[in-house]
């Protein structure tokens, strides 16, 4: 699967911060972010779900896996973070299917992702677990 690219915009960071109820000015107020020494608006750590999301969405839609997305439940998620992401960063995410297993008629898939910024620093690593329930 080719790596997916995501350009972090201020609008996307603000919209995300508001959607998850964050009030830290680092995510919302450019002046506050800059006076705290950041180059631009800071993305909350869980914004990793946004910049790595397209790679994950494409991986789940791999026609070879033939996953019924309507029967899918997010089973678990792990992120490890490196340097902070700020608006203006260009993030590249590579993802691979690490594990497939079956328990109690349910299928478990685990993908591992790695996201890098434009300086080739790893800004996060993700482990994405989904469960596909059988259609009744």
């Amino acid at each position: 699967m080719p790596p997916a690219h995501y350009l972090v915009s201020r609008e996307a960071v603000r919209e995300y911060a508001i959607a998850v109820g964050e009030s830290n000015p680092l995510y919302l107020d450019l002046d506050a972010a800059r006076s705290a020494g950041h180059e631009d608006l800071v993305a909350p750590p869980m914004f990793a779900a946004v910049y790595a999301g397209p790679a994950f969405a494409a991986a789940m839609r791999d026609p070879e896996l033939d996953i019924d997305l309507t029967m899918l439940v997010h089973g678990g998620q792990e992120f490890e973070w490196g340097p902070l992401v700020v608006a203006g960063d260009q993030i590249t995410t590579a993802i691979r299917l690490a594990e497939v297993s079956e328990r109690l008629g349910m299928r478990f898939y685990v993908w591992h992702s790695s996201s890098q910024n434009q300086r080739d620093e790893e800004v996060s690593r993700g482990s994405w677990t989904v469960i596909v329930r059988p259609r009744e």
């Binding site: 996307a12 919209e15 995300y16 508001i18 959607a19 998850v20 109820g21 964050e22 830290n24 680092l26 995510y27 800071v42 993305a43 909350p44 750590p45 869980m46 779900a49 946004v50 999301g53 397209p54 969405a57 997305l69 309507t70 029967m71 899918l72 439940v73 997010h74 089973g75 678990g76 998620q77 792990e78 992120f79 490890e80 973070w81 902070l84 482990s127 329930r133 009744e136």
Partner: protein
């Protein structure tokens, strides 16, 4: 801020997601799966109704950590298992306890509960305390 040590409880976070929260999160994240947006569809696939995005609930757990630790750069790792489905318009409480310290790194265990059920249990966070 009181120093965090094993046994410390982080400040509890209480959030009642309003009915539009799944629409805002879908728009912000790009995850527009109808199980989060369409009541009838969600019920047709055996869910109690529109459910919260798991990653939204995880973001609340993350917020409890970054607020307590002093900023986004302090959160180095977060690992969660989604246990049940979260629903809009019911209060979620996030509780977090420091369990270990390794040098400057704190290990925290956190739970997200809604209507007395854990929707995220045994979440593990690593925080930089320095």
């Amino acid at each position: 801020m009181t120093p965090l040590e094993p046994g410390s409880e982080l400040a509890m976070l209480r959030v009642t997601p309003d009915r539009a929260v799944t629409e805002r999160y879908a728009s912000a994240s790009g995850d527009a799966n109808p199980i989060h947006l369409d009541e009838a569809f969600a019920k047709s696939v055996g869910l109690p109704g529109r459910i919260l995005h798991g990653l939204y609930t995880m973001a609340l757990v993350a917020r409890a950590q970054t607020d307590a630790a002093g900023g986004p750069e302090k959160l180095k790792r977060l690992d969660v298992t989604f246990r049940g489905v979260g629903l809009p318009e019911h209060e979620i409480t996030i509780t977090s306890t420091v369990t270990e310290r390794h040098g400057e790194r704190l290990i925290v265990t956190a739970t997200a509960k809604q209507q007395d059920k854990a929707i995220i249990r045994n979440a593990v966070a690593e925080l930089e305390s320095g």
